[in-house]
Amino acid sequence: MTDVAWIGAVLASARPHAMAALLRYFRDLDVAEEAFQEACLRALKSWPQNGPPRDAAAWLIMVGKNAAIDAVRRLKREQPLPQEEEISDLSDAEASTVARIDEADYRDDILRLLFVCCHPELPATQQIALALRIVSGLSTRQIARAFLVSDDAMEQRITRAKARVAKAHVAFEAPSAVDRSERLAVVAAMLYLLFNEGYTAGIAEAGSRAALCDEAIRLCRLLLRLFPTEPEIMALTALLLLQHARARARFDSAGSVVLLEEQDRQLWDKKLIAEGQALVDKALRHRRPGPYQVQAAIAALHARAERPQDTDWAQIDLLYGALERMQPSPIVTLNRAVAAAKVRGAKAALDMIEPLAGKLDGYFYFHGARGAFLIELGRREEARLAFDRAIALANTPAEATHIRRQLDRLASPSPQKNLGFGG
């Protein structure tokens, strides 16, 4: 590993801490970002000779703060009427030393930094782009590539998001316990979206987008280190790890999606599964259930099954039932029906989803699952109609291929039982 790559990892790991503290000092994303950039430049000059400091984040905060204050002073000199009180404010900030800072001191700063990126007025894609830029430090080009848009378009998107955030007046006081848990929930939702941006990508984009999954997991672990007793954050981290563990098995050599039941489980990442499972166990001990815990528990049950037929569908059916009560949604019911079909048969599953026909009529998976249930019940003509509808709604060629295979099976004399979606 070259020195620069080595220092790069140290800078990347210190970035959330340093950016969060600089944002608190300057209360402006652009100033904080410039201060951090400047500190990084100086680190690249001085660290190769002197070695990285023991507390890289504290070093970067100190150097970045001083650099930004110098810049403000220079700017003031060029202006006719200096605003004295503003300068003296900054001098006070300079006087306070950044000696040894514990994670606990950074806790609310980093949460605020993440929260700033999730302003409710920002559409989800802008929240994610802003978090990747500000917190993770990905370049505009990297983010643009991940979102499959031009560099200019992404630059504009980030600039617009920053402008909106600047007007949002996020509170800089230490948050109350209620505010803190609200912020945590909003940030968790954003990290889940970020992960899904990477996860739902096809194989063709997997290279540039897989980085989104890694980044979501990294930020989740960071959040969990700051809030080590939050069962929902444990569970979200577990959920991402357990899903990411299947990454290598999710696509075949031709780039088609491989369904969960058909994946080569030898390709699943055992280390990520072990970590995810440990976090689920830890979370459930708290006996404060929540939606991420239920979803992580479902993912853990899939991960634990060495063969598809070992899957504990009865437990998964119950867990989806719990999720339905916490977060009622037709999608959750649809997922539950897939589990219910294994436990209670296709008739029960079909009864469960028929009432959703209105809400999910434009949803690929609804018609795919319905077709699969109908085949099992021997209602082949209805199944064919459902699959035709599914193909028309397929979002990717891989989804269409999967349905076409179902139609081929339908055309063959002995119908095979096969359902199950997602990968």
């Binding site: 590993m1 790559a5 080595w6 990892a9 140290v10 990347a12 790991s13 210190a14 990285p52 023991r54 507390d55 514990d102 994670e103 606990a104 890694d214 990294r218 672990r221 960071l222 969990l224 280190r225 080590p228 007793t229 444990m234 981290t237 280390k271 072990a274 970590e275 440990a278 976090l279 830890k282 001990r285």
Partner: protein, 123 residues
């Protein structure tokens, strides 16, 4: 004499390594480990999962208290350890230096082993 080489590093930094960087470090460490194994000096090698997956049992009270996270909140965390068999501290330090060249950053604590029971759980 048996020594434990306890590996400490800032977990935030190790988590920021790319897959390629991590693989490269592991490959370089494997070279050192193979050499030690051939010399009959290498005992068990353990890499621990992140401290976020850790749970601590405080047993200085009754009943013991279960706490989320690692025992100590420190800048650098215990991320793994090696057990090596060598003639002297100097030799143990030499091994640690070789491992360090393959895996820079953080610190190794070289600690003589008092009791070693190889156990029976499968690896």
């Amino acid at each position: 004499m048996q020594y434990a080489i306890l590996c400490y590093h800032d977990e935030n930094v190790v988590c920021a390594w790319s897959k390629q960087q991590d693989d490269a470090v592991m490959a370089r460490l494997a070279v050192v480990q193979e050499k030690l194994a051939r010399q009959g000096k290498l005992g068990p090698v353990v890499r621990l999962l992140p401290t976020t997956a850790a749970t601590t049992l405080r047993k200085d009270r009754e009943p013991p208290l279960v706490i989320d996270g690692p025992f100590a909140e420190t800048k650098e965390q215990l991320l793994g350890f090696y057990l090596v068999d060598c003639a002297s501290l100097e030799e143990a330090l030499e091994i640690a230096r070789e491992l360090a060249a393959a895996n820079p950053g953080g610190a190794y604590e070289i600690r003589p082993v008092g009791v070693f029971n190889p156990g029976s759980a499968s690896a």
